[in-house]
Amino acid sequence: MSRDDNDRELDALMAEVASLKQRAAPAAQQPPSHLDDAIRAFARREVHVRPQLAGSPFSGRWRIPISIAAVVVISATVTLMVAERHSPAPVAIPPVAEIAPAAPAITPEPEQKQAPRESAAPERRAMPRDVSPPPVASAPTGAPQLRRKDSEAKSEAAPSSRNGAREPAEPGQTFAASPPSKKAAPQAATPTQTFTASPPPAQGADASAAASSPPSGQAADSISAAPSSRPATEAARAPEELREDSKSHLQADEKASADGPIRDYGVAQLRAPAMPSQSAESERRRSSVAAGRVQPHSFMPSPAMEADAADWQATPQTWLKHIEALRRAGLTDEARASFEAFRKRFPAFVLPEGFVVPTR
């Protein structure tokens, strides 16, 4: 029998039984009423307690995925917020200009590397070693004509930085001329800036001194980190005034050169911008600095310093610096008088090597 025959036979049977049932089957039995009532009540209860909206995007199969997505988004947002809140704040690094607002004309010196070490204890420095020169706008970037005795500058710095304390002065302690008064030698640079002159590079006898000096490239850093070793008044000095002083110093140096070892107390860099041409004396002094015979310094004395005697008389070192400044400025009588007063006050103080006692 084929499949179609089977289907036709089955259809015939179904039709025949259906008629038999229609004729012979009793009244279709129905469920009892109590079952109907219970089922209808249950349906109403379910709809009222847990209403479900057909066709709602948040019903059915989308409910769970949307819920999961919402939880993930919220969790990620909260995590990011917490991470940002706990992230360390960037450390504010002051710009270099604020740290070292030095005159752009100032040539960085190798000795400036010593300045950071000195800055560690500025209060201990009874004799500031260096005084920054005035901001001379026209200062060439090249090496100054007159340079400090680099080795002497470092030797000054080394013991002072190592020893820390400046007073009482120790035998053999070197020093560099410094302004006795805060009003002296005003400079455009900040009081925190100090630097020292350095000898010109690659000059025979300078090699030994220069080798021990820090690279000139680091001078700027030392300048920026230099302690406040200069009186604030130096920053206010006019370039013209400093140039005049440098000229007078040059004359004084020439005079003092005959006395023996020349001590350059920091006049070199101040003269450099205004004295492009180098004299024979400057050359000799530069070589002396390089040879370690001269104490380099960066101080530009000024008669204005005389006014504030209380500052430079505070320590023997500052007093001696003041005396030296007077001597180099040509004020020999004043220098001698001040020296005599110094001796009365500090009779046991050992004069540093190289200090020239003012004479008549």
């Binding site: 089977n6 289907d7 036979e9 089955l10 049977l13 179904m14 025949e16 039984v17 259906a18 038999l20 049932k21 004729r23 012979a24 089957a25 009793p26 279709a28 039995q29 129905q30 469920p31 009892p32 079952l35 109907d36 219970a38 089922i39 209808r40 249950f42 349906a43 109403r44 379910e46 709809v47 209403p51 479900q52 909206l53 057909a54 066709g55 019903s59 059915g60």
Partner: protein, 187 residues
């Protein structure tokens, strides 16, 4: 919504919270489900409990209803599964030969004809028919009832019971043949 709405539309409305749609749906299929269970379950109390459970399951699963087949197929699928669960809990008499492709049960299922109330009906033509239905093997009886009471076709019966289509056809053929042969005296 109305009496002319299809079972599927009414079920979707009920899933959306329309209780009136359920009332119409229930009225249409309450008798068939009841008789489907009545002809296969000897215990009246158990049968009523099964009946109530089937409709409660439908109500609770209303949100998951999808129009993938006829509503009747879905309804009797629930009924079949609940009935099979009941049979598995029983021991001895109510054994359901689910895998008999020929439709002949391995064990004769309990028939409602053994019930005292059914004995009274056996003396009448109508009762005789019912007696013949009760005497059918369970698999054949179920297929017959799904066809007669549920109005399901061969494919729908196969889907509701999880059986093969050919097996359903075979069981139905056997059932119809027996009923026709049993009613020869009344034709």
């Amino acid at each position: 919504m109305g009496a002319e709405s299809s079972d599927e539309d009414l079920m979707l409305l009920f899933a959306g919270g329309d209780v009136a749609a359920f009332d119409i749906l229930y009225e249409r299929h309450r008798g068939g489900v009841f008789r489907y269970l009545l002809r296969q379950c000897s215990d009246r109390a158990a049968m009523e409990e099964l009946y109530q459970d089937i409709w409660m399951n439908l109500i609770q699963a209303r949100s998951r209803y999808r129009v993938e087949a006829k509503f009747a197929t879905y309804l009797y699928m629930l009924a079949h599964n609940r009935l099979m669960d009941h049979f598995r809990k029983q021991r001895g008499l109510h054994t359901v030969p689910l895998d008999d492709e020929d439709g002949e049960p391995l064990e004769l299922a309990a028939s409602a004809a053994t019930q005292p109330d059914r004995e009274a009906e056996s003396h009448q033509q109508a009762g005789h028919f019912l007696h013949l239905v009760d005497a059918l093997p369970q698999a054949q009886r179920e297929v017959f009832l799904l066809h007669e009471e549920g109005g399901l076709g061969i494919d729908e019966i196969a889907r509701a019971t999880g059986a093969d289509r050919e097996a359903v056809k075979s069981r139905l053929r056997y059932a119809l043949s027996k009923l026709r042969d049993g009613m020869k005296d009344y034709l």
